[in-house]
């Protein structure tokens, strides 16, 4: 692939991504938003983030991600549910996955 086509592809992806990012704040500022719609949109964002977590936990592309990763995320999730500090949650998740892999768990 030529350098020129790589630059064009990168810029098109960048502009398209920016359009997705920019559309929300702009449309929001033009319409009256009811408290109910406000809650609905916040809920939608939480649902999207939850879906990202679910996909990232179990899948690598379309393949099963193995055991170490979901196990680490689960440990983090339990600690977070019990309101442990953010740093503890994240390091425990990474540490669990790393140690399991070190022990040969996929």
């Amino acid at each position: 692939m030529t350098a020129a086509s790589l630059v064009v592809a990168t810029v098109v992806l960048g502009v398209g991504t920016f359009a997705f990012r920019f559309a929300g704040p702009i449309l929001r500022s033009r319409v009256e938003i009811s408290p109910r719609l406000e809650r609905l949109m916040a809920m939608a964002a939480i649902v999207l983030l939850a879906a990202l977590v679910g996909i990232a936990a179990f899948l690598d592309g379309q393949e099963f991600a193995g055991i170490a990763r979901p196990a680490g995320i689960a440990v983090g999730g339990v600690l977070a549910w019990h309101k442990k500090p953010f740093v503890v949650v994240v390091l425990a998740a990474a540490g669990t996955a790393a140690v399991l892999r070190h022990l040969g768990v996929p």
Partner: protein, 230 residues
């Protein structure tokens, strides 16, 4: 802009700094992997400044390096990034008013900055969390990518460090407080189920968008909450 840094308390700053460290390491690996795939040195850097979305960047580079069509790489990246549209609806007000803030703030919209903003209660803290997270992660990510592109293969296997578990755990920790609300929890669990089932046969990005239908499972709860407030 200075008020943003003043509103940040030490806990929030420390949490963002931790994500920043993890993000830098993944950035190093992105830069190193891209160059090791035989792609030009400038590509990971240009992508990271212009696109600034890790998952889409890895996908783009993977397709291009495999000899795929650049149009296919762009379409795949856009599909992964379409989630920013509903993100913008949800947190658009934290960017502030004025074109500069809206434009710069939109470019800093990533999963982490959105999640950090949603996790705060007061509007001022939301704004501070969003901007601080967006600015620091933009800096860390790009510095990491530059270091990785020039430095080569120091950290190419971030899985050995468990970083692939760290990022979902970051998002999970930030959304769990909202999931204590039963309606939101129902919606999120329904969304996750939809995403996991459809991921088996749909291209990356689409299952996450379909998860939005999970909101239907939380609709009744919203109505009750409003009636309760009224």
């Amino acid at each position: 802009m200075r008020s943003i840094w003043r509103t940040l308390d030490r806990d929030l700053a420390r949490d963002i700094a931790l994500v920043c460290v993890a993000d830098t390491i993944v950035g190093v690996s992105f830069g190193a992997i891209t160059v090791s795939l035989g792609l030009p040195l400038w590509l990971p850097m240009l992508l990271s400044v212009v696109v600034f979305a890790g998952a889409a960047q890895f996908m783009f580079v993977g397709i291009v390096a495999a000899g795929g069509n650049p149009i296919a790489a762009v379409v795949a990246g856009l599909l992964v990034n379409a989630r920013h549209l509903p993100f913008g609806f949800a947190i658009g007000d934290v960017l502030g008013t004025g074109w500069v803030r809206r434009i710069v703030g939109s470019h800093l919209m990533i999963d982490e900055s959105v999640a950090f903003a949603l996790a705060q209660r007061e509007p001022q803290r939301r704004r501070a969390a969003y901007w601080a997270c967006g600015i620091t992660l933009f800096a860390c990510w790009n510095l990491g990518v530059v270091a990785g592109a020039f430095g080569g293969t120091v950290v190419t296997n971030t899985d050995a460090l468990g970083l692939d578990a760290a990022f979902p755990a970051v998002l999970l920790a930030l959304i769990l407080p909202a999931m204590r609300d039963p309606a939101t929890r129902r919606a999120a669990l329904a969304g996750v189920a939809i995403a996991l089932v459809t991921a088996a046969f749909l291209p990356t990005g689409l299952p996450v968008l379909l998860a939005l239908f999970g909101v239907l499972a939380g609709l009744r709860g919203i109505r009750t909450a409003q009636e309760a407030a009224a």
